[in-house]
């Protein structure tokens, strides 16, 4: 620790409070309304699919398609996840298969 304890406490506190604010914002704005606006109901229904797609890209954001290994470790492992999932329809097999594949690939063919 190279800063005073209370400075560190303040940094922890500010980070926590700002995180809560981002999560609480929709509830602060719409939580007291008797009826939610129809547009918000609509967004609540269609956003999960869009956000999940965005999060998949977010997880893959650091791959570089212009130079070796071209994100191949990630892309192959994602393909393994998809194939295993459509085949076995079991979430644990798919996660274990894809993750093992990734951990092996980055240690052998495509070192980080």
């Amino acid at each position: 620790m190279n800063i005073p304890v209370w400075d560190a406490v303040a940094i922890f506190a500010v980070t926590a409070i700002m995180t809560w604010i981002t999560r609480a914002l929709p509830f602060m704005v719409f939580g007291n309304k008797k009826e939610l606006p129809r547009f918000i109901n609509y967004l609540g229904k269609v956003l999960p699919g869009a956000i999940m797609a965005t999060l998949v890209i977010y997880c893959l954001r650091s791959i570089d398609l212009t130079e070796f290994p071209f994100g191949l470790a990630e892309l192959i492992s994602v393909a393994v996840v998809v194939v295993v999932h459509l085949w076995r329809k079991n979430i644990f097999w798919s996660i274990a298969g894809g993750t093992l594949c990734y951990m092996i690939l980055i240690r052998t063919i495509f070192p980080l």
Partner: protein
Amino acid sequence: MNVKVLGVSKISKTAVFAFKKTIPIIFGYLFLGIGFGIMLQEAGYNALWALFGSLFIYAGSMQYFMVPLLVTGASLLTVAIMTLLINSRHIFYGLGFIDRYRRMGWKYPYMVMSLTDETYVLLSTCKYPEGVDPDKAAFYISLFNHCWWISGSVLGVLIGTLIPFDLTGIDFCMTALFVILLINHIKQVKAFTPVIIGLISAILFLLIMGPDNFIMPSLCFTVLLLALLKGRIETVKEVSAS
């Protein structure tokens, strides 16, 4: 007597269901938590800091960014702005849960503050079987995930540097989880448009803005497109439902 037994068995059935739902999160959260714990420990902070940090902040990427801010003693304004920028995507997560969470009494504030990426995705795609109380299950899912994250952080400080095997890459299980839940979601709702919009928008803004800043503009653009296509997407859903 009977009622009491029934009540207990229902609660435990709900808890077991929730626990199973969070199993895929265990590895990811433990590993990422351990990573945070190791960083904190190297910066000279003990396990109590990890415990309270993960208890009250509970935001993976931001906790990673916070450690260098701690080391350099960044100003509180910098910390506040960084947190807003990095966590801004969470603004959209609550939109689908407002009606449900606000009826949950004392659990309401906790459900709101524990809505991480992973919990959001799990709860958005969760189907609750007969005999499972959906609200209680959602609460347990949030709570268990939080516990995995806290455990990982504390373990990271205490024994992180002693772990004898190299776990690099195990966090890929989070990517795998998102991919799987996305596939299940597409199969369930049979509405491709929001997924395609999210996908194209994310790739587009990743190419324009680079990996560090793309997610918020991408989500804003996604919401804009979804708003413009409102009538159409609903029609698509009605057709596929009939």
